[in-house]
Amino acid sequence: MVDLKVDVGKLHLKNPVMTASGTFGYGMEYSDFIDISRIGGIIVKGTTLRKREGNPYPRMKETASGMLNAVGLQNKGVDHFIEHIYPQLTNVDTNIIVNVSGSTIEEYVETAEKLNILEKIPAIELNISCPNVKEGGMLFGTSCTAAKEVVAKVRRAYKNVLIVKLSPNVTNISEIAQAVEEAGADAISLINTVLGMAIDAETRKPCLSTVTGGLSGPAIKPLALRMVWETARDVKIPVIGIGGIMNAADAIEFMLAGASAVQVGTANFIDPTVTIKIIEGIEDYLNRHGYTSVSDIVGALET
């Protein structure tokens, strides 16, 4: 029997496979298909201080090996989450992690404070990388000073595990990662979606209401893998790999590049059972290669 358990700082995962925010709802959406408690961690929908309607339709366009989305953080706000959704999640036997977003530093801090007191939420993931909102979001994730400031302020207000999710829409990812580490993050997750665009030539109009949107899926995997590899070399805190993971081999590649754990996003839309297949596939890989623990393959890339 191989050991699939991994620790991301003080966060204990029964296996390294989590679900990426915005692609797995609140978990319940998938419970007809799988036992969601088998997943290492569920990162729920992007949550903000106040209710957000998100962007107008159309919000999605399929592209080669991926999709562009412009959802724009539609959610009912953190108070609604605490009152109505959290109680339904407390008996799910895995880590429920809330993805937090905001337009101002104060909003991030206030939202994190409200989540701090929830016993069954062991961590938050600070989204400083959403490309689909006008203010805040990605702006915090593309400047070292801004990233440092928001992470430091949330760090003071939030006592549990603080994961910071980085944007790939930067020239030097290591720089941002190091700034976030210095500011007190416990772990880094990357990547969020890549800023992209699609046009309908027939109508001469953009395909998304917001013109640009966030690209996800296998199309971004090589980029994500490179960024995870660069980041993992340059920070000491654990790194969580995200971007185009469709199967166990993809997940293992991220771990070899230095990720302690992974998140699966868009793949859930195509196969709602994919997380379970990835967990089983990782176990099979470890057995085949004679590893006893999943942590043995973290950063085991032979260059």
């Binding site: 692609t23 797995f24 709802g25 298909f33 309607e53 998100g54 090996s65 989305n69 195509i270």
Partner: protein, 257 residues
């Protein structure tokens, strides 16, 4: 209703015209309960240009013969690939998804009209068969560009009167569905519609002006079909909601289109 992921086997692939195919599937495990208006998210095999699943309304379910029908209009790479599926092939689907048309009350003498256009006629056949089996007398109004685009008319006739409009007048009355004379002659109690958005808007306007109960089934670009991605929104009196879970069927009173 519990959503399932099923591998269905294609029994028959019938070409109905240039662009429209009727695919008849069977399920080794039997078919789950499916309501009229619900849809399936279909995985397209071996189509590298098609990344996400594609949504299709359930066209008909025949539990006795273990059959599920999809009516496919070829518009792009995914539908083309699906139309080329050979009998015996297995196709993966997530179903049943979405809400359903709301069933009329017990009053069997209610005058019910189902209005469809294009591939939007698909869910209306299944709904019509339900209404008929439950003792109602539904009628159908089908619109097409031209007579060659009309499909499944004989199937609809099994469950009630069929009225037709074509834009070029090659069959039935010339014009759009809302131009059909039956709308002036009969006072319907309920109208249900599925088809291109401009058609449904015109139907909705007619129903509203005449104070008729009206439900429409909306199309939308779908990422997941199960309420997880929030890509498929429409604006309603209750805010911006997901068409795949709160719909696809909406009462026109709720819609802000």
């Amino acid at each position: 209703m519990k959503k399932l992921i099923l591998d269905l086997i294609l029994k028959k692939n019938i070409r109905l015209n240039e662009q429209v195919y009727l695919l008849i599937f069977s399920s080794e495990k039997g078919l789950p309960e499916i309501l009229p208006g619900q849809f399936a998210q279909v995985k397209i095999n071996d189509s590298p240009a098609t990344f996400l699943r594609r949504p299709f309304s359930v066209n008909f379910v025949d539990y006795e013969n273990n059959e599920l029908w999809l009516l496919i209009q070829v518009v792009g790479a995914g539908t083309l690939k699906l139309s080329e599926t050979s009998p015996g092939a297995s196709v993966n689907m997530i179903l049943p998804l979405g809400n359903s048309f709301s069933f009329p009350d017990e009053k069997k003498d209610e005058k019910i009209l189902l209005i469809g256009g294009g591939s939007g006629i698909a869910p209306l056949l299944f709904f019509g068969s339900w209404l008929f089996d439950a003792g109602f007398s539904p009628e159908f109004l089908i619109g097409a560009r031209s007579s060659i685009h009309l499909v499944e008319v004989d199937e609809f006739k099994k469950y009630g009167n069929v009225y037709i409009t074509t834009e070029d007048g090659t069959e039935g009355e010339k014009g759009f569905v809302t131009d059909h004379s039956i709308l002036k002659k009969r006072n319907y109690d309920r109208i249900y519609s599925c088809g291109p958005t401009p058609m449904m808007k015109a139907v909705g306007a007619y129903a509203e002006n005449n104070n008729i109960f009206c439900e429409v089934s909306l199309e939308n670009t779908m990422g997941c079909g199960i309420g997880a991605c929030l890509c498929c929104v429409t604006d309603t009196t209750q805010g911006r909601v997901c068409v795949c879970t709160e719909g696809t069927v909406f009462n026109i009173e709720k819609l802000k289109w």
